[in-house]
């Protein structure tokens, strides 16, 4: 039997497949499609300190091999999550990562404090949501702010801290190094690329928020490059995300340097994606004659010259 376990820092996962934030809710709806105890982990929808209604609709536009979303962090707020959802998630039997976004530094810290006492496995600091005005991408495109925030969070919680970074920057490696310096346990690459779709007849953006985040296979080459680039720049683990649709994609991300991966948009078009992908990984490992999936991580041989 293939050994699918991976470690991201001190946290062990049954397999490298984690459901990405914002594409799996809190797991409730997905139970119908697969046995959630068998996937590596679930990352919650992005939570904020106070409840957020999110942006006006339309919030989605289809693009070539991808989609734009501008949900804008609609969520019930941390308190309601802790009261109504956490125990449900905690009972699912897979690793639970909580994705949090703050309007400012202090909001992030307050959420970290509140999560410290819970049973969750890691906190994912969303430094990359392109659909809200404050916090997030503003912090995530500034290395000083990243380092400062991660270091401060490090002080208020013992939970593993993952920094989820935005690709909308000149140097992703600089951002990842900042997160590492701040004491992050892992970086998560990538969130969505800022994009726009236009309705020619109306001469209006299709999204009511004007812009949105691009996800799906369209962005995979960019994500893969960022993982490979960052792998050479930092020592902490990388969780790879962006356009992963099948088991082969997962292994490409691992070869590029990812210790584990997150599956986002794939779950929206194929609700059984996570489960299917785990099976596909097993099949390919047999084909490749690899017995431990973690052996793929960082084995990319660059061409030189």
């Amino acid at each position: 039997m293939a050994d699918l376990t991976v470690r991201v820092g001190n946290v062990q996962f049954a397999n490298p497949v984690i459901a990405a934030s914002g594409t799996f809710g809190f797991g409730r709806e997905m139970r119908v499609f697969q046995d959630l105890s068998r996937i590596g982990g679930i990352c919650s929808k992005g939570l904020t300190l106070l409840p957020r209604a999110g942006n006006a609709t339309p919030r989605v536009a289809e693009t070539a091999s991808g989609m734009l979303n501008s949900v804008g962090l609609q969520n019930p707020g941390l308190q309601s999550f802790l009261a109504n959802e956490l125990s449900f998630m905690a009972a699912l039997g897979c690793r639970i990562i909580i994705n949090i976004a703050g309007n400012d530094h202090e909001e992030y810290l307050e959420m970290c404090r509140q999560l410290d006492a819970t049973s969750i496995d890691a906190i994912e600091l969303n430094l990359s949501c392109p659909n809200v005005r404050e916090g997030c991408m503003l912090i995530g495109s500034n290395p000083q702010m990243i380092e400062k925030l991660v270091a401060a969070a490090r002080q208020v919680t013992r939970k593993p801290l993952w920094a989820k970074l935005t690709p909308n920057v000149t140097s992703i490696a600089d951002m990842a190094r900042a997160a590492e310096s701040g004491g992050a346990d892992a970086v998560v690459l990538i969130n969505t690329l800022l994009g726009m779709a236009i309705d020619r007849k109306l001469r209006r953006p299709l999204l009511r928020n004007n812009t949105g985040g691009l996800s799906g296979p369209a962005i995979k080459p960019i994500a893969l490059r960022m993982v490979a680039e960052t792998y050479r720049a930092i020592g902490i683990p990388i969780v790879g995300v962006g356009g992963i649709m099948d088991g082969n994609d997962v292994l490409e991300f691992m070869i590029a340097g990812a210790a584990a991966v997150e599956i986002g948009t794939a779950s929206l078009v194929r609700p059984t994606a996570c489960q299917d992908i785990i099976r596909e990984i097993e099949t390919i490992m047999e084909l490749d004659g690899v017995s431990e999936v973690s052996q793929y991580t960082g084995t990319l041989a660059l061409w030189n010259g």
């Binding site: 989605v60 949900v71 779950s267």
Partner: protein
């Protein structure tokens, strides 16, 4: 674990007009449980799935019907599928119309809105409820499912905005207004509507004026259709004091009580 069907063969395909087809799919599990107002999310040659209302379900034959109007690449692909082709779909999804406690059910459909409402009248027939179907079209040429509606026990009222040769000449809302004036009121009457948002808002206003309860089927752009991505938000009014909140069209909807809908128009 609830079964959600995936690969369904097309067992029949009927062209309704040059832009519209009715596909009959083999989908026993969906046929068993689906009720009017629910939808399926269909894979096509495009990236995202496409939500299509369920037009009919035959639990004996294990088949469902979908009425599809070509409006872009995805529906063009779906409408072009042939007998024997296999489509991948998820369903039945969402919350449909509640008929509990109804005695008379008036449906008001506009355009492709007549498709899911056909299922409503079909169920009324089965349950022996009085049905009145108001169907509004641009013109006779654009009319859909008139024969099928006429084959049901419900009373039909076909309205055409531009032609004089249908039952009513004018908009479906005007037809309804006319109908409600002439009709002898019955308690436990319900108005169910599906179509363009402006039409549904007017129907809802009319229903309110007459003190008749009204349900509307909203349309929002969707991705997952199963409640996890939150892109399909609809503004829904809460209790009197509270602000309205976003609910998921695909999960809490697509059918809502007209009173709680905050119209976007």
């Amino acid at each position: 674990m609830q079964t959600i069907e995936f690969s369904c063969p097309i067992i029949d395909r009927e062209s309704i007009n040059d832009q519209t087809v009715v596909l009959t799919l083999e989908a026993p599990v969906i046929a068993q449980t689906a009720y009017p107002g629910q939808f399926v999310n269909l894979a096509s040659n495009q990236f995202l799935r496409r939500p299509i209302g369920i037009m009919n379900a035959d639990s004996k034959k294990g088949s469902i019907q979908l009425g599809i109007r070509v409006s872009g690449e995805g529906t063009r692909f779906l409408a072009g599928q042939k007998k024997g082709d296999i489509v991948s779909l998820l369903g039945p999804l969402g919350r449909g119309f509640h008929l509990e406690g109804a005695r008379r059910v008036i449906t008001v459909g506009g355009g492709t809105g007549v498709f899911p409402l056909y299922f409503v009248q079909k169920v009324c027939q089965t349950r022996g409820l009085e049905g009145i179907a108001v169907c509004g079209y641009k013109s006779r040429k654009d009319s859909l499912l008139t024969d099928q509606y006429e084959a049901l026990t419900c009373q039909t009222l076909f309205a055409s905005e531009t032609d004089d040769d249908m039952d009513f000449s004018g908009h479906a809302v005007a037809a309804l207004a006319d109908l409600l004036l002439k009709l002898k009121p019955v308690p436990e009457t319900m108005i169910l509507t599906c179509g363009p948002e402006t039409m549904m808002a007017s129907v809802a206003a009319l229903a309110k004026k007459h003190g008749i309860s009204c349900q509307v089927s909203l349309e929002e752009r969707m991705a997952c259709g199963i409640g996890v991505c939150l892109v399909c938000a609809c503004k829904i009014k809460q209790g009197d004091e509270q602000e309205s909140e976003y609910q998921r069209c695909c999960t809490e909807g697509p059918v809502f009580n007209a009173e709680v809908v905050e119209w976007q128009i």
